[in-house]
């Protein structure tokens, strides 16, 4: 099974050419790299490429097949998936339902819309009190509020769906 790595919309096929001790020869998108790889701790690698020293931390994400890759200057969210599984990605549109979920557990302070309201992307729909702060949860797309699953003063768990928005087509 061919695998590709995806960083957002950018995806590349990866092939291992050779492994010899700490030296790993790989090809990504036709570009070949010879890397000197040492694992220094669980999930932490020291990678030297043409003299350049990279310290890389790779953490399995909660999302399946996703990895957070932290380099010294940047963070990436990389998905490893079988080639060809990506068809239709980035194509979703119309009649789709977007969900506003609680990013952390907390208490609902305010719901600033009612069912049927037209909302714009970025507009505050729910105010959630958590960690001593009031957090504004915003519409993730332009659309119409199709369902509200919570009410003021509810204590909600992480990831629970609070509001659904039917996207404008």
């Amino acid at each position: 099974m061919k695998l590709v790595a995806k960083n957002g919309n950018h995806q590349e096929e990866i092939k291992v050419i050779k492994r010899d001790g700490s030296l790993l020869q790989v090809a990504i998108g036709g570009r070949e790299y010879t890397l000197d790889v040492e694992k220094v701790e669980d999930g932490v690698y020291s990678v030297i490429h043409n003299g350049s020293s990279h310290n890389m931390e790779i953490i399995k994400s909660e999302k399946k097949h996703f990895y957070a890759v932290n380099t010294q200057y940047q963070s990436f969210d990389i998905e490893i998936a079988p080639a060809g599984s990506l068809k239709g990605a980035g194509k979703r549109q119309g009649n789709k339902s977007e969900k506003i979920t609680a990013p952390i557990p907390g208490r609902i302070i305010a719901i600033k819309a009612t069912q049927g309201d037209v909302v714009k992307e970025g507009q505050t729909v729910v105010v959630l009190s958590a960690m001593k702060m009031e957090n504004e949860l915003k519409a993730t797309a332009n659309g119409v509020i199709s369902k509200i699953h919570t009410k003021e003063n509810d204590v909600v768990k992480e990831n629970s769906v609070l509001v659904e928005i039917k996207e404008e087509s």
Binding site: Y45, I58, P105
Partner: protein, 502 residues
């Protein structure tokens, strides 16, 4: 003489206070809520006593229980830290009524300054300039709107009992006024148990600059210069520095002088902070006085060399200040970055989770005050502040460079945090040049939220290594062992040295 201090707080400030206790030969008593049993302040203190379940109201704000523990543990003093009960005059009074030393000012001073509206009146009497504003707001929506129109929009709604940005609301349009007042009241009620709010003119392009004060029980009050705190998000400071790159020496003199006058007007004892708003023309206005240790106190400690917690303890012991104003010198430049468990890309939403891995920045000119450790679970119950990173250097330019270096070294994984966001602040021209006001983050939002430019190679390597980690379970060629498992330099040693004796 204080011999044992109960620290009525948690997190980094509890650890920081216990450090100074330890250096002073004073025993420390930690208190903890149920989920904080394994928190660092519990592990670091000499003693640790439970005070209740997770919600602060039943633990860190539970006055009877805290006093009971103080008695049982034999503590002779209580340090409230910041937040929680630190500006609760009733607590200060109850502590003293119980025959204990409260490490902080008298209840009257807390009351006078804690009631922001009363404080405004006091300041006017003491000759300290204040921002145009209202008295306590009623529920009369029409009247509120009238007051706001008189002051002129935009206005700030503030909790009279407030602090730390809680219960604060900026209102730009008349139609948002009354709903904002309701929200501010609700937040104030939650945070402080008091829903009094008032209104102030919103200054355009203001700087938030504050002056550190120390007063003893013998009538001596000194200042320890100012801190520039204008880099804020959600009305909360995230970067502070001293000296301020904005004010002139002349304004510094005037401002510190007025700060001492403000403290003197309430016979202030202990450590306190007089906050000012400074407009683009260097006019300054009293904002509030915080009658406690400030989160950002370490930058003042670094430039003046004075341990503020030790100073608080000595003052509470009844000792006179060991310095006169002219003995207090500052040198160099210090910057603090607050490291929060939050997601800058999602409107600084606070986060929680288990800390997988930490690398602390070390080396010259760097201090961190934190409390998390690997395996520690940051809970959803309390403030998301993880730690404070403080640097010092001979001048501002070097301090910014050092902060960049320290942030580069600082790695926390397992919880979302704002370290890369802070790095981008350090790279923002307005900040580098010291030309910023409280609108800095809004003004630079785009570049602050954008990722670094990535060349092909760095993205390729990230993809390759994610692939390596993913496939290491199925492809033997991609198994890399930790150094300590695979290598045995004991064995290698003999072989190498037989050929190459040293």
């Amino acid at each position: 003489m204080i011999r044992k201090i109960l620290v009525a707080n948690r997190g980094e400030i509890a650890v920081r206070i216990i450090r100074s206790c330890r250096e002073s030969g004073i025993k420390s008593v930690a208190i903890y809520s149920q989920p904080d049993r394994t928190s660092m302040h519990v592990r670091y203190a000499d003693e640790a006593w439970p005070v209740g379940p997770a919600p602060s109201g039943q633990s860190y704000l539970n006055i009877p229980k805290i006093l009971e523990v103080a008695k049982e543990s034999g503590a002779d003093a209580i340090h409230p830290g910041y937040g929680f009960l630190s500006e609760n005059a009733d607590f200060a009074k109850q502590v003293r009524d119980a025959g204990l030393i409260f490490i902080g000012p008298e209840a009257e001073a807390i009351n006078a300054m804690g009631d922001k509206m009363r404080a405004r009146e006091l300041m006017i009497k003491a000759g300290v300039p204040v921002v145009p504003g209202s008295g306590k707001l009623s529920d009369d929506e029409t009247e509120n709107l009238k007051t706001a129109n008189e002051i002129g929009f935009p206005v700030m709604i503030k909790a009279s009992a407030g602090g730390g940005g809680k219960g604060m609301r900026l209102v730009e349009k008349p139609e948002e006024l009354n709903s904002s007042i309701r929200r501010a009241k609700s937040e104030a009620k939650n945070a402080f148990g008091d829903d009094s709010v008032y209104m102030e003119k919103y200054l355009k392009s203001p700087h938030h600059i504050e002056v550190q004060i120390l007063g003893d029980e013998h009538g001596n009050i000194v200042h320890l210069y100012e801190r520039e705190c204008s880099v804020q998000r959600r009305h909360q400071k995230i970067v502070e520095e001293t000296p301020s790159p904005f004010i002139s020496e002349e304004i510094r003199k005037k401002m510190t002088d007025r700060a001492v006058a403000a403290a003197a007007s309430v016979n202030y004892t202990g450590a306190g902070t007089v906050e000012f708003l400074v407009d683009a023309d260097l006019n300054f206005y009293f904002l509030e006085m915080n009658t406690r240790l400030q989160v950002e106190h370490p930058i003042t400690e670094r430039t003046t060399g004075i341990d503020l917690v030790k100073a608080q303890i000595k003052i509470a012991n009844g000792e006179p200040l060991p310095w006169k104003q002219e003995d207090i010198r500052k040198s160099g430049h210090s910057i603090e970055c607050r490291i929060y468990a939050e997601d800058p890309e999602r409107n600084f939403m606070p986060g929680a989770g288990t800390v997988l891995h930490i690398t602390e920045p070390l080396g010259l000119g760097v201090r961190t005050d934190g409390y998390i450790y690997e395996g520690y679970e940051i809970t959803v119950f309390y403030d998301p502040l993880i730690s404070k990173l403080i640097v010092w250097a001979q001048n501002r330019e070097e301090a910014v460079q050092r902060m960049k270096r320290a942030l580069y070294e600082y790695k926390i994984t397992g919880v979302k945090n704002n370290i890369q966001f802070l790095e981008r602040i350090m790279n923002t021209p307005d900040f580098v040049q010291g030309k910023y006001d409280t609108h800095f983050i809004a003004k630079n939002e785009k570049s602050l939220l954008a990722g670094e430019n990535c060349n092909n190679t760095c993205e390729d390597l990230a993809m390759v290594m994610a692939y390596v980690e993913h496939q290491s379970h199925v492809d033997k060629r991609l198994v890399f062992n930790n150094a300590q498992n695979s290598k045995s330099n004991w064995k290698e040693y003999g072989r190498l040295h037989r050929f190459n004796p040293f």
